[in-house]
């Protein structure tokens, strides 16, 4: 059975790196894996998504609307933007983290309140303050690995040796902090 994971966020938040580590781990675990993402214009502070699919034999690299087992959002609003991709039984892992866009900066739009409440009414949701946790670790950028950890645990993929995947694919100076971030993420999932 093919599983579908959609990671969304804002350009520069590290969704692509998280998705890359995820796919490497899945491939090493013996799954067929496909991933799709849109580059280009979206890099300039736009909304970004990486889609990962794995199973015995994966056909489409693209997840269809209503097809994702899990939606991992690196920013609050972005979870709402991509909710149409989630299955009825799907769950959300969302970072309780706010990022302005050019529209809020210039005052053309206000950042809305109550997004998380609204999402909670819709489906099974895990809210993580990955920004705070990353800052406690001393580097805001590892937010993405905290969320990756939560994703791995939620999808019951914690039997894969993720520490060795981090060691092989992250610059040596950042290996330790990323391993810690991964553990924090995994521990934030109950069970």
């Amino acid at each position: 059975m093919t599983k579908s994971i959609i990671l969304v966020g804002v350009g520069g938040q590290g969704t692509i790196t998280a998705a890359k580590l995820l796919t490497i781990g899945l491939m090493e675990a013996g799954y067929d894996v496909k991933m799709s993402e849109i580059h280009g214009m979206s890099q300039r502070g736009g909304s970004v998504s990486s889609q990962v699919r794995y199973g015995e034999e994966v056909h489409s690299a693209v997840i269809e609307k209503g097809g994702a087992d899990i939606l991992v959002s690196f920013e609050k609003i972005e979870a709402m933007r991509y909710i149409s991709y989630l299955k009825e039984s799907g769950k959300i892992v969302v970072n309780d983290y706010e990022m302005d866009s050019v529209m809020t900066i210039i005052g053309a739009q206000d950042y809305p309140d109550g997004v998380l409440d609204e999402l909670e009414k819709m489906t099974d949701i895990l809210v993580i303050k990955a920004g705070e946790k990353a800052e406690e670790l001393g580097n805001l950028k590892v937010m993405n690995i905290i969320l990756l950890g939560a994703l791995i645990k939620s999808m019951e993929l914690d039997n894969i040796d993720w520490n060795s995947i981090i060691e092989k694919n992250i610059k040596p100076a950042f290996v330790d902090i990323n391993k810690k971030a991964l553990t924090i993420g995994m521990e934030s999932v109950a069970g």
Binding site: M27, S36, I38, H39, H59, V62, M80, I106, Q109, M122
Partner: protein, 594 residues
């Protein structure tokens, strides 16, 4: 060994493994990473060309003398290269030659949705369409072999989802391929009417032979399951269709799509009850099938625009997709792409947006974002290198009007100027224009992620390259009025524009400051721009009057504390360009060391 690769990485791997000698490209989403990845293989000569036509021509030259060569570009790039392509079909090649065209169904990063499969038919050359990363690598070998056997360039058509989707690829070793022995052959290679008339027959004969191949090859094949429904498709859409229908329908999977396999299609159509043609962009296969007198369902139910992802196919066939949740638009904000913190284009558009009686001709690149709020400083964008020429034509006509007070400001970047803007500047000079022409020189090809170009100081493979001097070049074209300014200093921008508006002859303003994404600087740039991005700006809260003028620069590092009515600057992302400082009426923003 197996590796997860994007289609672009897989093509580059194929280029390496199958003995390529030479590759050239002009960056363009979604094709850019093909040459970026080829450049990592030192066995292959990999070059950025100033435009797609030059890339294709240099690749043609490499194949003329017996080398294996590949050119890569986005779909609209093939328009630029088309002049070379069509005659190349006639004069042919000795070494294997591939042109990769990366099309964009859905236009994620493009200005149109043209279907370049039409180019294969139009130029009468064979075409491959891989469906995933593994095929994207493997078909390179086949495409070279077909190119060499039939003496023709091959169109290698991919789409965004091939380029930017990853799949597992089996890696091999590089097979060295000898450069074929070149022999002069003017009857074939000198394209003049007499040779073209005989080459025309060669092209026709070749097309017939390729049709036979298309009907009997490993790239086109039926997969029979239940025969109530049959699907003919190609490229990544094959994978989407399998996602929706699985093994419940039969497929005719096409990987070699010009000429289309007429006999295979007729045989498949006879076997199935209802025939669907599922393809993105134009009804390229559908029209062929219908011309054979075969009944099929295609455009009747599938949309003519956008990607035919599984949900779209599902909805078209069954009337309903799987979607359950609907987003609440009240809980969303728009998140359009915008200029990065420290982008040297920002100040130019802040200033241009304030100018009255000004029409701004834009161009393709990051600066195209100048059309959007908060700048609202662009009237049109057409295609690569078009700003100076569209601006020129517009100014000429407006000048015919009595008491015209409208001025044209034409804007493009360094790489777009090299691409084709330089031709337009010659037009401006030669035809006695009075337009104001801005070259926004940020020392790199920025929009596609920071590729080197003739002004950046480095080659595609990281060697030091000689650098074009813009001012000398522009003056050499015949422009008499030239200014070079730092765009981050407001006074320089305002003064240069004021000066240019007073002239009744064409002027060029070169704004020079590096893109924040530029990674490598040559010695000259190091000494000129060594201090770039080493400072921060900060708000002195006591002085800030909460007027929000700084926010109108649209910089993502800026914010506003609603309660205290004070502007804020994120020191983690600010690189101290000082554009907000230039807009502050009370001097509440200052620079400090990072």
């Amino acid at each position: 060994m197996k590796k997860l690769m994007t289609g672009n990485e897989a093509i580059a791997r194929g280029v390496y493994e199958y003995g390529t000698h030479f590759a050239s490209a002009y960056p363009g989403t979604p094709s850019t990473e093909i040459l970026e990845n080829i450049s990592q293989y030192k066995e292959v000569i990999a070059e950025w060309a100033p435009n797609e036509k030059v890339a294709l021509e240099s690749v043609a030259g490499a194949a003329f003398v017996g080398g294996r060569a590949l050119a890569a570009m986005k779909h609209v790039g093939v328009n630029v290269a088309a002049d070379a392509l069509f005659t190349l079909s006639y004069c042919g090649v000795l070494g294997g030659m591939i042109l990769v065209s990366a099309d964009e169904p859905g236009m994620h990063s493009s200005q149109n949705e043209q279907d370049n499969r039409n180019y294969a038919k139009f130029a009468k050359i064979p075409m491959f369409e891989p469906a995933d990363s593994q095929e994207a690598k493997a078909f390179i070998k086949d495409a070279y072999e077909i190119s060499e056997k039939y003496g023709t360039p091959v169109l290698y058509r991919i789409t965004t989802r091939i380029s930017h989707s990853k799949g597992i690829v089996e890696l091999g070793e590089r097979e060295e391929v000898e450069i074929k022995e070149y022999a002069k052959n003017i009857k074939r290679m000198v394209s003049v009417p007499s040779t073209a008339r005989s080459n025309r027959h060669i092209v026709e004969k070749r097309t017939k032979e390729l049709l036979e191949l298309s009907n009997d090859c490993k790239w086109n094949y039926p997969i029979y399951n239940d025969k109530k429904i049959g699907v003919i498709t190609s490229g990544s859409v094959f994978e989407y269709a399998k996602e929706v229908f699985g093994d419940t329908v039969s497929y005719l999977k096409l990987g070699f799509t010009n000429p289309l396999p007429t006999t295979l299609i007729e045989d498949f159509a006879k076997e199935v009850e209802t025939l669907y043609i599922i393809e993105e962009n134009d009804p390229y296969i559908e029209e062929h099938v219908k011309a054979l007198g075969i009944d099929c369902i295609g455009r009747d139910i599938f949309p003519y625009t956008g990607e035919l992802t599984p949900d779209v196919i599902r909805k078209s066939v069954y009337g309903k997709d799987k979607q359950v949740f609907e987003e609440n638009p009240d809980k969303l904000i728009m998140r359009p792409p915008t200029y990065c913190s420290g982008c040297p284009h920002r100040a130019v558009f802040v200033e241009l947006g304030k100018r009255k009686n000004t029409i701004i001709a834009g161009d393709i690149g990051c600066y195209a974002l100048g059309f959007a709020p908060p700048y609202n400083a662009m009237d049109w964008v057409l295609c690569m290198g078009s700003s100076f020429s569209t601006g020129h034509g517009a100014q000429k006509v407006l000048n015919l009007k009595k008491d015209n007070d409208k001025r044209l400001v034409s804007v493009l970047g360094d790489s777009t100027f090299f691409h084709t803007g330089i031709n337009s500047l010659l037009d401006v000079v030669y035809n006695n224009s009075n337009t104001i022409n801005l070259i926004l020189d940020n020392r790199i090809t920025a929009m596609t992620g920071g590729q080197d170009n003739p002004g950046s100081g480095f080659s595609a493979q990281g060697e030091i390259a000689d650098v074009v001097d813009f001012e000398t070049l522009v003056r050499g074209c015949g422009i008499k009025h030239v200014k070079v300014i730092n765009p981050n200093i407001k006074a320089e921008v305002v003064e240069a524009l004021n000066w240019a508006y007073t002239l009744d002859e064409p002027s060029v303003i070169i704004t020079q400051w590096p893109c924040v994404l530029k990674r490598k600087y040559n010695d000259d740039d190091k000494s000129k721009f060594g201090e770039a991005f080493k400072t921060n700006c900060k708000v002195i809260e006591d002085k800030c009057i909460g007027c929000k003028l700084c926010l109108k620069t649209g910089c993502p590092s800026l914010g506003f504390k609603k309660d205290e009515k004070k502007a804020t600057i994120n020191k983690n992302t600010c690189v101290g360009c000082g554009v907000c400082k230039g807009e502050c009426p009370v001097g509440a923003i200052v620079k400090e060391e990072r």
